[in-house]
Subunit: 386 residues, 2 copies
Amino acid sequence: MVSERNRPVPRVGMVGGGQLARMTHQAGIALGTDFRVLTGSAEDSAALVCGDVRLGDDKDAADLSAFGKSCDVVTFDHEHVPEPVLREVERAGVRLRPSRDALRYAQDKLRMRTRAHELGAPCPQWRAVTTLEHVSVFAGENGWPVVLKAASGGYDGKGVWVVSSVAEAETVLERAAEAGIQILAEERVDFRRELAVQVARSPHGQFAVYPVVETVQRDGICHEVIAPAPSLDEERATRAQELAIELAHALDVVGMLAVELFDTPDGIVINELAMRPHNSGHWSIEGARTSQFEQHLRAVLDLPLGSPRATAEYTVMANVLGGEDPHVYDRYVHVMAKDPGVKVHFYGKEVRPGRKIGHVTALGDDHEELLARVRDAAAYLKGDTQ
Amino acid sequence: MVSERNRPVPRVGMVGGGQLARMTHQAGIALGTDFRVLTGSAEDSAALVCGDVRLGDDKDAADLSAFGKSCDVVTFDHEHVPEPVLREVERAGVRLRPSRDALRYAQDKLRMRTRAHELGAPCPQWRAVTTLEHVSVFAGENGWPVVLKAASGGYDGKGVWVVSSVAEAETVLERAAEAGIQILAEERVDFRRELAVQVARSPHGQFAVYPVVETVQRDGICHEVIAPAPSLDEERATRAQELAIELAHALDVVGMLAVELFDTPDGIVINELAMRPHNSGHWSIEGARTSQFEQHLRAVLDLPLGSPRATAEYTVMANVLGGEDPHVYDRYVHVMAKDPGVKVHFYGKEVRPGRKIGHVTALGDDHEELLARVRDAAAYLKGDTQ
């Protein structure tokens, strides 16, 4: 891309200042491109480390347009910018990657399910529901419990309710109606485990697909990731990678696409999509030749993509959640002394119980041993073990 | 370390804003510690990407003391702060790591040679010279040519003169006398190749030693590094690592120490020392479990050191030097398309012919193939090949 602003390197603007922007900035330092963040507070995770921060409301069209015009290309740390705002920003001439059209599939689960169904991609049984009658009929066909999801706005388990009766569904539907939010009913998939696969796509249409990983979720939050997913048969792994490529192509994704999957006795089924670097890809910082963060930058800059090849037989990551004690740094000594091979990533965020404040990664040949090591480190950093 | 400023994580201050500070900042993002840079211009390599930059004269005692007092610990991107300035800064209560006492051995080659000789460490024949008579006597004992070195202030081949006669030595000695610089005469070592070894040392006295690497120098500038040094016999490799540990201990180094060595038919001989992250260790960003930059931070923070273990059989790095054409970014497309496995590091520095503006790294099993790949990428980025 030739910079329109007559600068020697292009500037990527990232909307949102969380840990994804922080780690994208980190990758951009090696790439030597300019990186600017739009975020609400100078104390946000990315703002603490980035040399070029614009403070503003990242969901406001005026702020976002002004920010976008100062950059060669704008990308996202989250999916929470409303579609009408994105429309206005695109009209102002800002180059969004992924585009508004693509992003809608990550923002709106109903739209995503509809499109995936059209494409013949494997989905759970699902239906848009607005009344208790709808839920009751859906449950009659697919059985209880039913998973109710807010079509937009949910993440990390928020906006998802597993209900076992019409009575339980009532509150969800009432509150959704009040908030003007569309609800989807989905069958509860009888899965053996959860998987995720990431693919990068550039505007040129080049793809780079990563190994399929196993994600371990608890309470709707990703706790651990094992890359690659142990004992996944090759056919199913290839099918998952092809599915990610098909979706990235069909939805015209630019940048990283994460496809979260259920691994069921009958095959893989799509759970969620994200069009940005994703928690299921943090392992790639050490575990792949090209991390998801560098790859996202290369894709949105329309540079040739880097090798997604694994650097070790297994890479295992555990998220570090905040505990009661905010003094995480004081516990580094123990974790680092005990395991000199574990990589600590801390996001600089204020510690609150249950909040993702960092992650730890280990690489080697034995995924069970690696999982034990990162669990141990994460638990210690949280303050659960002494 | 308990922060004296009642902050949840300590702040490392780095003196100097070059690429070493830039890459140290990058490593610090993962570590989650605060990182502040003192540098002369907002356009300096590290200042472009670091969220916390103080502009000032990094060789001025007042600027340096004020900067140091705002940090928990201060470390260095270069060795060019004069010793009297460091003395004043230490007196002001700033914690320097490495300390002024240790740094003197990296700043003053005469002091280094004297101390290394006392320790029984292998050095070339050397002598302090102030007159042509001294040079002549030294050459009579050790033969021509003689290597004359400025005791302080030299790097990247500047401050080193290979002279073949008394007449050639005359200009060097005259200019040194005018500038008040002490000159050393050293025998020209008949080496097969150059090696380097890095060790980290923490205030607790913990060491982490890296594999011995081969460095390929041209015109006094490091061009390529092969890690580990191919076909180096184990005894010699171990001796080099032990030597680095002995020196780090004896000189009370805190942080990274690089020992540049000559590999001669009779054994290894010390060439130079550096007490900071070093060009010979850039391979470790991808090639070691813990990069030299993270390790330097861990050492100066007195955290337990990370594993220096290699991540691949070989890692090969080539420096990217500036050429005539300043538009390096425009050449990314070719380099990245041709070799998706090569890692590009660009320092954001203004391109000037011969200036180190970045480096490229590749990992694999065949060091000759890797060397060809990184040479090719570096030559293309420089603009030597089309």
